[in-house]
Structures are given as C-alpha cells and as structure tokens.
C-alpha cells in the first residue's frame, strides 16, 4: 500500500495548490460571472518574481528561509498589482458588454501576460535554486515506505492556512459580507453605499495574492518555472473550480483536492491498470508479447494531464452545476 499512501500525499500536495488557484477563479466568477483566464498567468508571474528574488539573494549571506520569504513578499504585491490593473483596464470597461466580450478579452490578457513574462524571463525553463535543502521523512519503518518532504508539508500547511483565512475574510468581515452582497444583488449593494467597483477590485487583488503564493509553491515543488506554466495549471484549477461548482468557495477547495488526487493516482496506477500483460489471465494470448516486454501499458503516467479533463467532462454530464454548485436556475 505504499504506492497508495505516496500518491495520496503527492495528490494532496498538488491538490492544495490547485485549490488555492481555483479559489481565485471562483471568487472572480462569483462576483462578476467572468472566467478570468489570465489568473493562471498571475500564478506564473508569482513564481517568476519569487524566482528572480531568490536568485538575486542566493549566496548573499541572507538566511535561506528569509530569502524564500522575501521572494513570496515580493511576488504578492506584484501579482496583486497585476490582478488589479487587469480588472481595471481590461474587464471593467466591458462590465455591461455581452458575456463573450470579456471572455475573449481574458484570453487576450492571458496571452499578453505570457509574452511579457517571455520578454522578462526568457523562453527557457528556469530552475529554482534549491536553497532550502530537501528533507524527506519516512512515514513507516519499511524500506519502501511512503515519504513526505518538508516542501510538501509547507505547501499543505500554508494552503490550509490560506483557505481558512479566506473563509474568515468572506464570512466574518465587513468587506467579505459586501463581496457576497455584490455577487447576489449588485444593484442593491450600491444602495447600501457599497462601491461595487471597489469590492470587485478587492476580489481580484485577494485572488491574485493567493495566486502569487500558489505560484511560489508550485515553482518550489517542481523546482522549475516557465512563462507558459500558468496555462496548464490555470486550466486544471479552472476545471477544479467548475468541478466543485464555480462561484462556491468550498467547491473550489474540494474540486482542487480531487483533481490533485485523481492526477496523482492516475499517474501512479494508470500504467498498471492499462498494462495488457495483466489481461493475460482473462484473455490468454498476451503471454508472448509480455515475455518480450513486461510492461505493455497502453496509457502511461504521462497521460496524467488528461485525467482532470476526463473527470470534469464526466461530472458535468451528470451534474452540470458541479459537485457543490447550486443549479443556475436557482440563482437570483
């Protein structure tokens, strides 16, 4: 069962990152019904900025944990500024336009941000310097024990802290209540003296801040960053948000963790499950093949990126509103 436990830990780590990114999609969708396709790029910029800071300070005598913290502290305000500006410049003028217009604009913004990153950081994969030594902890005493690393622990703990923080913000603070008010009745919110524009800006800023941290987490986890990394990550997180029920915070968390787990288990077991040699018991005749080559997997772990989308399609067929979403017809 060590493979199982290992994939559970890997999936949970990845799922936490997806969940934090998915929260950014779902918050913005919840308040203005816009799919902010540029959110993945905000995450990428977070990773890139942190990378630049870490490289610049590496070996300067500043203690490594402080360097990483400074990287995060630089990434957050820069991503917030990007999120704020994108909303103000690209989306706000289209607030009352037909829905296709802001959607296409979002895709355009995403491409622009990718190319800005390309100009600044180049087209190559950038590897994060391992300034904090990777420590691995064995979970059992067996030789093949599943392990968890210090980075995985940090990602999981930090993600949970951010999720709890966001829930407290949205449900317990004045601005959080206003966010929900604007999402439910934007016209009436104005009558309360609430400036919808300010609340919407705030939502983008918070989502971008979470995205910045997610970017640093994913960059440190995989050890690499790339100007196009936001695309697939953003797409999966978006799937996570839709899977959980877009607009719903708990749904984004659930969807993110599910996508992470599905991906990890898919990567861990897909090879075995689709290995034709295991069919020999049921359909004799593969023996000859398998004598020559013991692993004849039809789909290997490299198909892991596909799982998120397969699951999304299946769920949407049976539950178009997502796992925790309300039916659209029920919305005011």
């Amino acid at each position: 069962m060590d493979v199982f436990l290992q994939q559970l830990i890997n999936g949970l780590t990845l799922g936490c990152v997806y969940a934090v990114v998915a929260l950014g999609y779902t918050m913005v969708y919840g308040i203005i019904q816009l799919i902010n396709f540029a959110h993945g790029e905000v995450v990428m910029i977070g990773a890139m900025v942190a990378f630049s800071v870490i490289v610049a300070l590496n070996g300067s005598g500043v203690p490594p944990p402080l360097i990483v913290a400074l990287g995060v502290l630089a990434a957050i305000p820069i991503c917030m500024a990007v999120g704020y500006s994108v909303e103000k410049v690209a989306y706000r003028p289209l607030r009352n336009a037909p829905r296709l217009a802001p959607l296409i604009t979002a895709i355009g913004v995403s491409i622009i941000l990718q190319h800005v990153a390309l100009l600044i950081w180049g087209r190559n994969y950038i590897s994060f310097p391992q300034i904090i030594p990777n420590e691995t902890y064995h979970l059992t005493s067996s030789a093949t024990s599943a392990t968890i690393t210090n980075i995985q622990i940090a990602i999981i703990v930090l993600s949970i802290a951010m999720m709890v923080g966001l829930v407290l913000l949205v449900y317990k603070t004045r601005i959080g209540i206003a966010m929900r008010a604007v999402s439910q009745r934007p016209d009436v919110a104005g009558l309360m003296g609430i400036s919808s524009n300010n609340v919407i800006s705030f939502t983008f800023v918070i989502g971008a801040g979470l995205g910045a941290i997610a970017g640093v987490m994913i960059g440190s986890y995989y050890g690499i960053a790339h100007y196009q990394m936001g695309f697939m990550l953003g797409l999966k997180a978006f799937c996570a948000a839709v899977l959980g029920g877009i607009g719903n915070l708990a749904g984004a968390v659930l969807g993110g963790i599910l996508i992470g787990l599905i991906e990890a288990f898919g990567a861990g077991y897909m090879g075995d499950l689709t290995n034709v040699c295991t069919l020999d018991k049921f359909l004799p005749g593969f023996t000859a093949l398998c004598e020559a080559n013991n692993n004849m997997a039809v789909f290997g772990s490299s198909y892991k990126d596909v799982f998120a989308f397969i699951v999304l399609i299946l769920v949407l067929v049976f539950r178009p509103q997502g796992l925790l979403g309300e039916r659209v017809a029920d919305r005011a």
Binding site: D187, M192, A332
Partner: protein, 238 residues
C-alpha cells in the same frame, strides 16, 4: 426648506421615454407620496433619485447638492436610503448581515449594534431569524428587513417603493405603522404606493403620476376628496 427637488426630470430606457419632465419637491420632515397606475413611471423616478438610473435631462438636488447621475453608492452615503421595489434583500446573507450592510458606510460599531437592537425590537420576527438567510423569509418579513436595513444607514431621507406590494392586509398595517412611526420621529419620506387610499391617509402631500407626467399634486387630505382622484385612483364613483 426643500430637502429634495426634481426639476423637469426626464428619464428614458433606450429610446423609450418613461418619465417625461416632472417637478417634485419634498421638504425636510415631510411625508410625501407618489401614486399612480402601473407603468406611470414611479419606480423609474425613484431609481433616478437614488442613482440607479441617470436622467437624460433635468436637475435633482438633494440637501443643496446636484445628485443627478452620481453613482448610487455616493448618493446612499449622503443619507438618502431607498427601499427598492421588490424589497431587494440579499437572499444568501443572514438577516443580521443584511442589516450590517445597511450600515456599510458607518464606522461606529457600538451604535450599529444598538441600531440592530432597535430593528429587532421593532420587528421581533427578525430577531428570531437573525441567523437565517434572508431568502428563507416570507414577503412580509423581507419587507420588514428591507425597511430596517435602510434605516441602519441612519438616513436623512427615506424613499420607499411600494412597501405593501404583495403583502397580507395585517402585514400592510404593520408596515404602515412603522412608516408613520418613523415619519413622526422627523424622517423625511417619499413613499410610492399602489394602495392610494392608505398612502393619502398617512402622507402630508401627494403627487399623482400618469404616463410619465405628474397629473395632480396637492395636500393629501384634499386629494382624498378630489372627485377626479377618487374616481381614477381610489376606485370610487365621483
């Protein structure tokens, strides 16, 4: 002195003119009602006053300042509170959160908590359901909430759009009691009502709207006995 004045205000939806040049004024401490048939332009007028719509011409002055075309949240912060048609509660927010949103631009936490207690005393139903979402309330309870929420901003002037719409008679009575009570405390009120008789009974002055224009205006007591008003709006033979 007049707190709110509309001069030659015209409002249109796209090309369709809904309000065709009206003059209305409400003095400080006055309870004025605006009555008229469905589609006369009453709601449109209130929306323009509260900043939800921009009149294409005309002046709206409130408290000495021109407010036509200002965004709704700025007008609300100036002390003009609208209870919108259909109540407009935030369905997914609890009663308490709805009330807190009414006080959004206030910072005096202690006084806000006191005002919530005042609302609960006025409408004990709201207190019983303080932690429930507003979407679960009955129409009458939602109206109590909408009025209480508007009062939470401690407005200088209250605009009410058909507060009795769709309510059982006993609920209508309760709502009007509160309108009277609030008016008696000195609040300036502009009240839209379909129940013309009730509206004329509680108000000082009245405007009657018809097809986007003001067709009659005067003291409510006089309009109650005006044969033209009685025939057209009170459902009585002249």
């Amino acid at each position: 002195m007049s707190l709110l004045t509309l001069s030659d205000v015209k409002i249109s939806y796209g090309g369709i003119q809904a309000v065709k040049g009206i003059n209305i004024s409400v003095a400080e401490g006055e309870l004025v009602t605006l009555i008229g048939a469905n589609g006369a332009g009453k709601t449109t007028t209130l929306k323009a006053i509260s900043g939800m719509l921009k009149p294409y011409t005309g002046r709206i002055t409130y408290d000495g300042k021109e407010i036509a075309g200002k965004p709704a949240h700025e007008i609300a912060q100036m002390g003009l509170a609208l209870v919108p048609e259909g109540r407009g509660v935030f369905p997914g927010l609890t009663i308490e959160e709805n009330l807190l949103m009414g006080a959004y631009h206030r910072r005096d936490k202690v006084a806000i908590a006191q005002d919530i207690e005042v609302a609960y005393t006025r409408f004990p139903r709201l207190k019983e359901r303080a932690k429930q979402t507003a979407g679960t309330l009955s129409g009458g309870e939602q109206q109590m909430l909408a009025i209480s929420r508007a009062l939470m901003s401690r407005p200088k002037m209250l605009l009410l759009d058909e507060p009795s719409m769709g309510l059982a008679p006993i609920m209508v009575q309760k709502i009007f009691e509160v309108v009277r009570e609030v008016a008696a405390q000195g609040m300036t009120i502009l009240l839209i009502e379909q129940n013309a008789k009730l509206a004329l009974q509680v108000s000082h002055r009245a405007y009657v709207m018809d097809g986007g224009l003001v067709s009659f205006e005067g003291r409510s007591a006089d309009l109650l006995h005006d044969p033209r008003v009685r025939e057209a709006y009170l459902g009585e033979a002249a």
